[in-house]
């Protein structure tokens, strides 16, 4: 077991993680003991109905939330053993987040929203480079309210990749977007995965997106119900929305 945990090809290993909200009769079991390994460099899609525990799982491995029981290891280090400060540095250096609701700072321009990260990361790329990687080379000085949803999400991706993270965690990044825009966003993510070898985990409802992934993990009722490995992932352009 131990050498599996320290296996250099595994980025995340989870060990029977559970998550409960509330107490007594009202208890909600969001996760019921998820055990899984996430290999490095893959593009992984998490599929499953609402309430199946995908987001909770993503938040926990990203260090945004604590499991009720069980362990998460990131490259051999147990997140549960980390102090709040270490957890902050774990996120700062290793994890890039992309949220469904973008979560850009409304009072900063596109460029500045990315600089918010490059200001604190250890070895960041330049903010412009990060934006170029998601095909945003214009409208850099626009505020979020002046950008379309797709553009905002691409700024959020640029913000996430600018720090050259080990992993990208994306919670329904295309959920609020139309198909054309969604494709642009996914292309950006796939591009980052291929170019930088960043392990990328994407939550989605959209089954067709599964075709582009190296690995598809199905969630149902707080647990993993199935894992499929795609030997030949399709390019984004080829999928049908």
């Amino acid at each position: 077991m131990l050498d599996q945990v320290t296996d250099e090809n595994i980025v995340f290993k989870t060990d029977a993680i559970t998550k409960q909200y509330g107490v007594g009769e009202l208890t909600v079991h969001a996760l019921r003991g998820v055990t899984m390994e996430i290999p490095k460099g893959e593009l992984i899609v998490l599929l499953g109905p609402s309430g199946s525990g995908k987001s909770t799982f993503l938040n926990i491995i990203g260090g945004l939330d604590q499991p009720t029981s069980g362990n998460v290891h990131f490259e051999g280090a147990a997140l549960a053993d980390m102090t709040d400060r270490e957890l902050t540095y774990f996120r700062r250096e290793n994890v890039g987040f992309v949220f469904q609701s973008y979560n850009l700072v409304p009072s900063l321009t596109a460029l500045e929203n990315v600089e918010l990260i490059t200001d604190i990361a250890a070895d960041p790329m330049s903010a412009k480079e990060a934006l170029a990687a998601v095909n945003l080379t214009e409208r850099l000085n626009h505020f979020p309210s002046q950008l379309s949803g797709g553009e905002q999400q691409r700024v959020a991706i640029a913000r996430a990749i600018a720090k050259r993270p080990e992993v990208m965690l994306c919670d329904e990044p295309t959920g609020a977007l139309d198909s054309e825009t969604g494709i642009l966003v996914l292309e950006a993510l796939q591009n980052v995965n291929k170019t930088y070898g960043t392990t990328t985990i994407i939550i989605t409802h959209n089954v067709s997106i599964a075709d582009v992934a190296d690995r598809v993990i199905y969630f149902a009722d707080g647990n993993v119900s199935d894992v499929q490995i795609n030997e030949n992932p399709k390019p984004i352009r080829d999928i049908r929305w």
């Binding site: 996120r91 850009l104 700072v105 409304p106 990260i117 604190i120």
Partner: protein, 791 residues
């Protein structure tokens, strides 16, 4: 790549600040108002106290005084030998009526001798205008500035004065200030009346010749060495002067002008300390509440910053910088404004406290204290809110705050909800869901209301005090005092004068009251048992019956530590100086001064005197004022006249000039604070609900309906704040009144309904204006933007 000067986080800070500039201005104003009142009040008080200290020091203000009938000049050698005495200045001084052309009412004056060939050793004069006296110069005088200003005299003008029964015409050659007459109080007067009381200084040799005091003095002032025992010196001085008709000596604490100055400064210190402290505390509380809520609205952004790898201290500093911007700007405005207003206010006070060396003092410690207090409070508020948001796991912080467990409101459980519309139920549930927040908002607005009540209530209490004192208590129009006790038949002459409607005899006896080791130099007034004019009132505003014995004011009883039934010693400071044992039969509440009263017949028999009087209370026909005053002026034995209507005017003038000035400033600041708080409460309530309100608009609610939900909640907050504020305000006033007790006067707790009404009106007006300003924001809700999930 060139390193950017301003980091992204700092740019976020600047833009966020700009976005909430309206609120920031309001917070800054609240804070600046708190600091301003603090700085200006303490600045003025410190400056006045320093001015007094410097003046007394440079003018060599004496430490001990005594007067006598006639003391041979060589006795001063004995006085100089008293252990602890540093300097001795002997003088000749007389009081008498004065006549000024064009003034009907009688006035009195005091003339004091000045050494001929040197400056006086003590109580040096400060020459404001004109020149000093030449040696032996006859009938030329230096006059007190206050009197000169009151009459618009110019150098060379003359005043007639009856000195020792003889009329002299005095020519004013110089205008001076004296540390002994910062306040000029005439015989029997309770407050300075610069028009009807003047002080003059004349060549010693000229004066002693005029009043047959060659080779003698009747007044002496001493200064003491550091560490000398004042009581021992006074006792020894009394012993030396006793054979020459000496009255008991007194020190600075009993010197009239100084006593008054000290009382005024004490009053200012009370209002000037308590009020700004309350203001600063209220401002600090409000800044705290406002900053807490301001940061709470940034919850999602805090979660995001944490998620992307900012640590808590970086986020904390980010928001602390926001506070610091508020603190720095608020402090600068507060400090500069406070010092500027303080200087202006001090100039007004300078007309009143005649200190020649009055400069505005910047009290650095006060400034630091006030800024630190506000900064600490704002920082604490921000810190707590930031901690709350940052302590949540970022995933949770980024979710919109989930409503806590749904509950039916009390009204619904009681089943009376059907009387409320659907919208009203939303409002009530909002309030019930966050009762603490609603309560804190109410307390905030309540505080704003309370300081409005507070700022006006002191004026109400003062007015009430004046009404009691002059309408119910002292109902006489005119009070006369004679040079020395006279047979009661002297009153017949006055009774017969045209215009006199009623005359009541008075017998004032200067005494030193002693009880155990405590003593107080004061006067006992002998009055008739059931007077119509000069009455003694109890706390219930009913006249006290003095026929039962000896009654004294509560203040005096506290100074001497006596209660009803105790016997005290009264050492009479006249003639043979008998000592009387008096049993206190009643103690009454008096607002002004500290009196002791006894039946006039009883005091006369205790003193083995026939029916004598020292003065009279008169009721006069106002149509006869002029001729009556002419008649009174011709009575040489009258040394003092006090006109009650004038007294009241003067008293009110002093109050207006003195602390009411500060109160007027407080009222303005209180209004500012109230507006600032209410605007902020409304504005934050809006930002907390902006998204929800936008959703309701999307669902088809009209702007009016959405506004009803927002303002309905605010209206409830304001409604609750009104009784809260009145309650807090009453408490603050009660606290101030209790701490506001000087020997000069006590203030009753009395708040007019007008004051409450004013405070409530300001609060409601502020609420309406704030609602209007926020309404314009509701008007501008961008429905599409709001739904896109952009904050």
């Amino acid at each position: 790549m060139m390193r950017r000067v301003v980091s992204a986080l700092n740019r976020k800070l600047l833009r966020d600040l700009w976005n909430i500039k309206g609120q920031l201005v309001a917070i800054i104003f609240v804070m600046a108002s708190g600091i301003m009142t603090f700085v200006l009040s303490f600045g003025v008080i410190d400056s006045l106290e320093l001015g007094q200290e410097i003046y007394y020091d440079r003018a060599e203000f004496a430490d001990v005084w005594a007067s006598a009938k006639r003391v041979p000049q060589d006795v001063d050698e004995q006085i100089k030998q008293i252990d602890g005495v540093s300097k001795v200045e002997t003088r000749v001084t007389f009081g008498g009526t004065i006549q000024v052309e064009g003034m009907d009412e009688p006035a009195t004056g005091r003339i004091i001798s000045l050494p001929d060939n040197r400056e006086p050793l003590l109580n040096k004069l400060y020459l404001e205008r004109g020149r000093l006296l030449r040696p032996d110069e006859e009938d030329a005088v230096l006059a007190s500035e206050a009197f000169v200003l009151a009459h618009d005299f110019i150098l060379g003008d003359t005043v007639d004065m009856i000195i020792n029964g003889k009329k002299r015409t005095l020519k004013i050659v110089g205008v001076v200030l004296s540390p002994e007459y910062v306040y000029s109080l005439g015989a029997g007067a309770m407050i300075p009346d610069n028009k009807r009381f003047g002080v003059f200084w004349m060549s010693h040799r000229a004066l002693e010749a005029a009043v047959d005091m060659d080779g003698a003095f009747n007044d002496v002032a001493l200064s003491l060495n550091r560490g000398a025992n004042v009581d021992d010196v006074k006792a020894e001085l009394d012993r030396i002067l006793k054979p020459y008709g000496g009255l008991i000596s007194y020190d600075r604490s009993e010197q009239m002008s100084n006593w008054f100055v000290e009382n005024e400064l004490a009053q200012n210190r009370t209002t000037g300390t308590v009020t700004p402290m309350i203001f600063l505390a209220v401002a600090a509380f409000l800044v705290n509440v406002v900053m807490t809520r301001q940061v709470a609205t940034q919850r999602v952004q805090i979660g995001m910053l944490k998620a992307v790898g900012y640590n808590e201290s970086e986020i904390a500093f980010h928001y602390l910088r926001m506070v610091m911007v508020v603190v720095v700007i608020g402090s600068i405005i507060g400090l500069i404004g406070g010092a500027w207003l303080g200087k202006g206010l001090l100039n007004l006070y300078a007309e009143y406290f005649r200190f020649p060396y009055l400069r505005y003092t910047y009290s650095i410690d006060v400034m630091i204290l006030s800024v630190a207090f506000c900064a600490a409070s704002a920082t604490a508020g921000t810190w707590i809110a930031m901690k709350q948001a940052a302590s949540l796991p970022p995933a949770e912080a980024m979710r919109p705050e989930t409503p806590t467990e749904f509950k039916e409101t009390i009204l619904e459980r009681l089943g009376i909800d059907r009387f409320f519309s659907f919208l009203s139920r939303i409002v009530l549930r909002q309030v019930e869901r966050r009762p603490i927040r609603a309560l804190l908002s109410s307390i905030g607005v309540g505080f704003a209301l309370s300081i409005l009540v507070f700022a006006n209530a002191l004026t109400d209490s003062m007015d009430h005090m004046m009404n009691v004192q002059y309408d119910i208590g002292s109902r006489e129009d005119l009070m006369l005092s004679f040079v020395e006790p006279r047979h009661v038949s002297a009153l017949e002459e006055i009774r017969l004068m045209p215009g006199v409607l009623k005359v009541e005899p008075l017998r004032d006896v200067p005494v030193n009251l002693r009880h155990g080791h405590l003593s107080k130099r004061t006067g006992i007034s002998g009055i008739i048992p059931n007077p119509d004019l000069h009455r003694v009132l109890g706390a219930d505003l009913k006249p006290i019956d003095i026929s039962s014995g000896f009654v004294m004011s509560k203040m005096l009883s506290e100074i001497l530590d006596v209660k009803v039934g105790d016997t005290i010693k009264a050492e009479v400071l006249e003639e043979r100086r008998p000592e009387l044992d008096l049993t206190v039969s009643a103690i009454y509440d008096e607002f002004v001064g500290m009196g002791a009263f006894i039946d006039i017949e009883r005091i006369n028999s205790l003193l083995n005197e026939g029916p004598v009087v020292t003065g009279a209370a008169l009721m006069i026909d106002p149509n006869w004022n002029g001729p009556l005053y002419e008649n009174i002026k011709e009575i040489p034995s009258i040394v003092g006249t006090a006109m009650m209507t004038k007294m009241r005017e003067l008293f009110e003038e002093i109050m207006d000039e003195n602390m009411m000035r500060m109160m007027a400033i407080y009222v303005v600041f209180a209004a500012f604070i109230a507006c600032g708080v209410i605007y902020n409460t409304a504005r934050i309530a809006f930002s907390e609900r902006a998204r929800e309100l936008a959703s309701l608009r999307v669902l088809g609610l009209t702007k009016g309906e959405v506004a009803y939900i927002l303002f309905g909640e605010l209206a409830l907050v304001v409604l609750l704040a009104i009784p809260l504020g009145i309650f807090i305000g009453y408490g603050l006033v009660a606290g101030l009144v209790a701490s506001f007790e000087t020997e000069l006067f006590r203030i009753p707790l009395y708040i007019k309904s007008d004051t409450y009404a004013y405070a409530v009106c300001v609060v409601i007006a502020s609420a309406l204006i704030s609602f209007y300003l926020v309404w314009r924001q509701v008007d501008n809700i961008n429905l599409v933007e709001a739904q896109k999930g952009v904050e």
